[in-house]
């Protein structure tokens, strides 16, 4: 049989109109997706705070900007918010905006209170604003821990001069602890002044200097006083993770420097754990007066949310520009109805003096 048994003269079977109607209905009900790229209409309060045991309260408050909205990227201080912090087992503290010169250059308004933060204590933050709504957050300050057997030695790491900072962490056993190490240089202002006839004169001005020299020529008893005044400005020092147990592997190349070193007590819960990290020494000293300062080395126990935020924040900064924005690691936040992080820490800190502060 060589001929086809197919019938080529068949009529087109009618598709029932009901099917067409059904298809149209299905298309219609499923077309409820949002328009292509609608932008939010209102901004939110932004809080980026760290409550450190033993320190007074400082809460930076600002407002967000709408991404892609065509507005200039310039953040405004929010000075008219009602900010309060309630302490577990304690009272409720009203924070007020602090207009001291040290906070002038911040992108946010600084709300402060002299009360000292306590370790192993919970806090709830509330910030209200008529335009941006009410943002809240809560955090538990980690309990105290000690660092022993601290030693330093100058060496090199990957061809760079570093200061190796070695120590033992005495890890509390009752809970999981999150540690981070950082080093910053607090810039100082070296002030020179003298008193004459009960009046204080600034030697660092030309008039003051001329007066001082004149008084010296006249054999007047006048003493030049030098004072080092810490500022609220800091330089971040590069760190190298020398302990393979650190969590920095997921941030970037372990041979490169980091802003912070991250470590949990997974391997040493409840024990005394020897560890170290290295600090790049290239900024330890400075020829320019504006960059003289004191090296502050910190070993902190931080709240889990703060640990996650800062780790992702480090990854974000490390990856920025290397991949599309929507592929970046956005830090996980804990502000309800707002943006940002309320973190907490217990800090062990050491001061190192390398600059000539005279």
């Amino acid at each position: 049989m060589k001929t086809s048994s197919l019938n080529n003269n068949s009529k087109l079977p009618a598709i029932p109109s009901a099917w067409i109607v059904l298809i149209l209905i299905l298309i219609t009900i499923s077309c409820t997706d949002k328009p292509l790229y609608p932008l939010p209409q209102e901004n939110k309060l932004v809080i980026l705070a760290e409550l450190t045991a033993g320190d007074s309260i400082q809460i930076p408050v600002t407002a967000s900007l709408i991404a892609g909205g065509g507005n200039n990227i310039s953040f405004e201080k929010v000075n008219d918010a009602r900010v309060s912090l309630s302490e577990q087992g304690g009272g409720n503290m009203q924070l007020l905006p602090n207009n001291s010169p040290g906070f002038t250059n911040l992108p946010s308004a600084m709300y402060t209170h002299p009360h000292k933060i306590k370790p192993n204590t919970g806090y709830v933050l509330t910030a209200e604003h008529p335009l941006y709504g009410t943002a809240t957050a809560s955090v538990l300050v980690p309990q105290a821990f000690s660092v022993t057997h601290v030693s330093t030695d100058e060496s090199s790491f990957m061809g760079r001069e570093v200061l190796r900072f070695s120590f033992n962490i005495s890890d509390p056993a009752q809970e999981k602890n999150y540690y981070l190490f950082e080093a910053i240089k607090q810039l100082v202002k070296v002030a020179h002044y003298f008193y004459w006839q009960g009046v204080k004169y600034d030697y660092d001005t030309q008039a003051g200097k001329d007066l001082f020299e004149q008084l010296e020529d006249e054999d007047e008893e006048v003493t030049l006083i030098t004072d080092t005044i810490p500022t609220h400005q800091f330089l971040r020092l590069g760190l190298f993770a020398t302990d393979p147990g650190s969590d920095n592997k997921t941030i970037g190349n372990m041979d490169s420097s980091f802003n912070r070193i991250f470590m949990t007590d997974t391997l040493f819960n409840g024990q005394s754990y020897p560890t170290s990290f290295a600090i790049a020494t290239n900024l330890f000293t400075s020829a320019t007066p504006e960059q003289k300062g004191i090296i502050l080395v910190s070993v902190k126990s931080v709240s889990k949310e703060f640990y996650d935020y800062l780790q992702q924040y480090e990854k974000y900064k490390n990856d920025f520009g290397k991949m599309p924005v929507n592929q970046l690691s956005f830090p996980t936040e804990n502000i309800q109805n707002g943006i940002g992080i309320l973190g907490a820490s217990f800090r062990n800190e050491w001061k190192l003096y390398y600059d000539d502060l005279e």
């Binding site: 997706d33 920025f320 690691s329």
Partner: protein
């Protein structure tokens, strides 16, 4: 080897036992009546007298005076009684070596008495003896039919007597054979190519009015060539893109997304061998050479039990053996590449080889219309087939392919290098008239290097990029390689005319070679410079069993089970994967079907989020990264008219478990100890409906498919644990193709594809840098002007613009002799230059405005093409 011999022995025992004959031994006695026409009583008396078999009956238990006429083909007691007692309310029993006929309330079944014999053999193409997969063998009288397996083998059990068997295959002239079955009979059937039906045949091969045994789609790669051209390249895999529920996503690994599944969830088999990345040019073109393909089938809802290892789809491709009769070949020169294929007998009717080779080139047409595109790929395929005897065949095949692709998009240079090396040795054996077994040893190796170089510029509101200052640049690269070795046996056992068994066993060993993310100033494309980590090997032992059962003439069911045992270091996993498919014939042209399948996949592909970089990494399942699983539920209706119209609609629901994703932000594998921490697993859902209407035959052909689908994912730690739409959650997809045969030499076609856009994430807010709020600055930070942080509220909350594309082509065939024919193809790909990818970027610094930029790209812009093929 011990396993194989045990299985073969079992098969031999089962398949060579004449089950039906033993059960009705008296009925199988040979007997030819003295007369062709007579009354029932006369035939019974003749049987008692001359057959040697005693039959007892009461005269009032039957209509003894009814006249019966035999056709002369009856040669057994059973065959004679079947004809004589047809239409009688009676029942026949065999007892004490006698047949006893009693009265019954019901009629004697049409085949209750007659012995059954097996009609088996191979269907091959004339002039080449190429085994034909998917040819149908039908006995229209008994309505029994079967399709040949991928090796061209068939076995059908029919009652004793005369039969007119019809054999057909799309594109070939049907054959009819008159067969008189008196014993198991073997046939070697050849079909001629039907010259008048070279084109305008259905892409999706209809099952005709046969009861469906699977909802998998058999693709006729030759007949869909109107729709599968890419710049003149005839790519059989592109036929699958026309199917509803199948998405082709350019610039992605493998390019294939099926029913909401990811690109790594498709099992691509070439001659039973796994191919890790079956595409060139980032998914634009497959590695399959059209001239070497024998059969292609896609399963996306109903998975026969022999398949496992992918949770979304299986594409099973078998290549030709090679022409056993004469030498022939084909040479092609097109816009994108040049290729040739040659096949022929080394020893006629015993040994044949097939060799094909393809290499890309930069034609002036390509570079004129696609500046910056620099394709560089090749394929080499070689196969040798040896017929040992009529029951045994050996096949050895080898494939090598490689790609080097470089592109520059948005100040980012991308480089991809990947390749496959595949080899297999296969043995087909006809064990008996009712059993067939294929055993193979396979090897598949794959390597992939993906790297990009980024440059960050200081931005301002000036659109002139020449004024931008370079702040930072660097390169990131990833290299990985994978190798799999396996041995497997798959058997088909035709128990009787209603039941067929499929069973098999497989042992596999996979090694994932080291992978590393490398940071450097410039792109490093030397694989030897990538740091070697400890290999990750795992083993898998699997077995399956399945029954194909026809119940009555309207109902078919295929239950099965696939069991696999997996081991990676100290982690072991046992997976039970039940499968079931059922179909029911409502009427001659109407069927409904339903299926459930559970699939398990032990390999995870973690897709790197880098822009336009195929830097994907395979990782094994572990105790932390459990095997991926899917449960698919499917319900459908199909209308199949012999006049060439076909309509189908299906609804499906699919659940996915342990699907993988990079942990947000942890997209680098920087060392081998903690790579599992960079990967998270979650779950997903996909559901929707799929519609197909197709008209073939005649001068005009038409194909339209529509899909309405949803696809979701949910990962702890992403989108705050809430479910979010999968990246390629394209709500609507429509394909409409039309072809017209102008005359015997010229035909033309057009294809329009449309789909809703993809979803994507973009930040909706930005806020100050954390250190900035403490006046902590980093002097080494080159990105001072970017000291702010983006924030986004939801994952994948936005959707791109829709995708659509129009292609057109025209073919001209010289009316030369069959041995020398030219085919000239001309067309335009992407007629109006529509993009197939949208990229959104956020721009802005502390000195400028925050802006969104939308960039659209097309893998290939509007490109005319010309392709010339010479067949000899």
């Amino acid at each position: 080897m011990k396993v194989y011999f045990i299985i073969s022995l079992l098969l031999a025992i089962i398949s060579t036992s004449p089950l039906r004959a033993q059960k009705r031994s008296l009925l199988a006695h040979s007997f030819v009546p003295d007369m062709q026409k007579g009354t029932v009583i006369q035939f019974l008396e003749n049987l008692n007298t001359h057959s040697g078999v005693v039959i007892e009956y009461a005269s009032n238990s039957i209509e003894g005076t009814r006249t019966v006429t035999l056709d002369g083909s009856e040669s057994s007691v059973g065959a004679v009684l079947q004809k004589v007692l047809q239409g009688q309310h009676a029942r026949l029993m065999e007892k004490n070596k006698k047949l006893i006929l009693v009265k019954s309330a019901s009629l004697i079944d049409t085949d209750a008495l007659v012995p059954f014999y097996t009609f088996y053999g191979f269907v091959r193409a004339a002039n080449s003896r190429e085994p034909m997969a998917g040819a149908t063998i039908i006995d229209p009288i008994t309505r029994r039919g079967i399709a040949t397996n991928p090796y061209g083998f068939f076995s059908i059990t029919l009652p004793e007597g005369r039969h007119r068997i019809e054999i057909s295959h799309v594109g070939y002239t049907p054959e009819a054979l008159d067969v008189v079955l008196k014993k198991n009979t073997r046939a070697e059937i050849t079909l001629d190519l039907h010259q008048e039906t070279l084109v305008m045949q259905p892409v999706i091969v209809p099952s005709g009015n046969l009861l469906m045994k699977t909802s998998g789609n058999r693709i006729d790669h030759r007949k869909g060539e109107n729709y599968n051209y890419l710049l003149g390249e005839n790519d059989p895999l592109r036929n699958t893109y026309l199917l509803p529920g199948v998405q082709h996503i350019p610039s992605s690994f493998s390019g294939l997304f099926v029913r909401g599944g990811g690109p790594e969830e498709n099992l691509f088999l070439m001659d039973g061998n796994l191919v890790y990345n079956p595409t060139h040019m980032l998914g634009a073109l497959s590695i399959i050479n059209q001239t070497s393909v024998k059969s292609m089938q896609l399963f996306k809802s109903d998975f026969p039990s022999k398949y496992s290892g992918a949770i979304s789809s299986v594409i099973d491709i078998h290549t030709k053996d090679g022409n056993m009769e004469k030498w022939q070949g084909e040479a092609n020169a097109g816009t994108l590449s040049g290729s040739f294929t040659i096949e022929g007998p080394v020893v006629k009717d015993h040994t044949a080889i097939m060799a094909s080779f393809r290499h890309s080139w930069k034609s002036p047409i390509l570079t004129t219309f696609n500046k910056g595109l620099d394709p560089n790929f090749y394929d080499a395929h070689f196969k040798v087939t040896q017929l040992i005897n009529k029951n045994n065949k050996l096949m050895a095949s080898f494939y090598s392919g490689r790609d080097i692709l470089s592109k520059t998009i948005s100040n980012t240079e991308n480089l991809n290098k990947w390749g496959n090396l595949i080899g297999s040795l296969s043995w087909n054996k006809v064990i008996s008239s009712r059993s067939f077994i294929n055993t193979s040893i396979n090897m598949s190796r794959y390597h992939n290097l993906g790297a990009y170089k980024y440059t960050l510029f200081e931005e301002d509101n000036d659109d002139d990029e020449d004024n931008d200052i370079e702040l930072e640049s660097g390169s990131v690269g990833t290299f990985t390689s994978t190798a799999q070795y396996n041995i497997k046996s798959q058997a088909e056992i035709f128990l009787n005319h209603k039941t067929k068994l499929n069973a098999g066993i497989e042992l596999g060993h996979t090694i994932i070679k080291p992978f590393e993310t490398k940071f450097s100033e410039e792109i490093d494309d030397n694989e030897d410079n990538y740091h070697t980590f400890e290999p990750l090997p795992f083993d898998e032992l699997s077995a399956y069993g399945e029954a194909e059962m026809r119940i009555g003439s309207k109902f078919f069911i295929r239950p099965g089970l696939h069991v696999s045992a997996y081991r990676f270091k100290n982690y072991e996993h046992l997976s039970f994967q039940p499968r079931i498919f059922a179909s029911y014939k409502l009427a001659t042209h109407h069927q409904i079907f339903s299926s459930f399948s559970r699939m398990t996949q032990y390999l995870h592909l973690v897709t790197n989020p880098y822009l336009n970089t195929n830097a994907d990494i395979w990782v094994p399942s572990t105790s932390k990264l459990l095997p991926e699983q899917s449960d698919s539920y499917n319900l459908g209706y199909r209308f199949d008219h012999s006049g060439g119209w076909k309509f189908s609609v299906e609804g499906y629901w699919k659940e996915l478990r342990n699907v993988t994703n990079y942990v947000e932000g942890k997209s680098y594998f920087v060392n081998d100890e903690n790579w599992e921490q960079n990967v998270s697993s979650g779950k997903g859902w996909a559901y929707g409906t799929e519609w197909t209407i197709q008209k073939s035959g005649g001068k005009l052909s038409f194909l339209a498919t529509y899909t309405l689908a949803w696809s979701w994912r949910q990962f702890e730690g992403i989108n705050e644990g809430a479910k979010f739409p999968y990246k390629y959650d394209r709500r609507h997809s429509l394909n409409a193709g039309i072809g017209y045969q102008i005359n015997k030499r010229i035909d033309c076609s057009a294809l329009w594809s449309f789909s809703t856009g993809d979803v994507f994430s973009m930040p909706d807010y930005l806020y100050p840098d954390f250190d900035n709020t403490r006046q902590i600055t980093n002097p080494a930070d080159l990105l001072k002007d970017y000291r702010f942080v983006y924030h986004y509220s939801k994952y994948n909350q936005y959707r791109t613009s829709p995708y659509h594309r129009l292609d057109a082509a025209i073919n001209y065939r010289t009316n030369s002799s069959k041995n020398n024919q030219f085919l000239v193809t001309a067309g335009v790909y992407n007629i109006y230059g529509s993009p197939d990818q949208y990229i959104y970027e956020m721009k802005g610094t502390l000195k400028s405005k925050s802006m969104i930029s939308e960039n659209s790209f097309a893998s290939f812009g509007m490109t005319p093409y010309l392709s010339v093929t010479y067949k000899f």
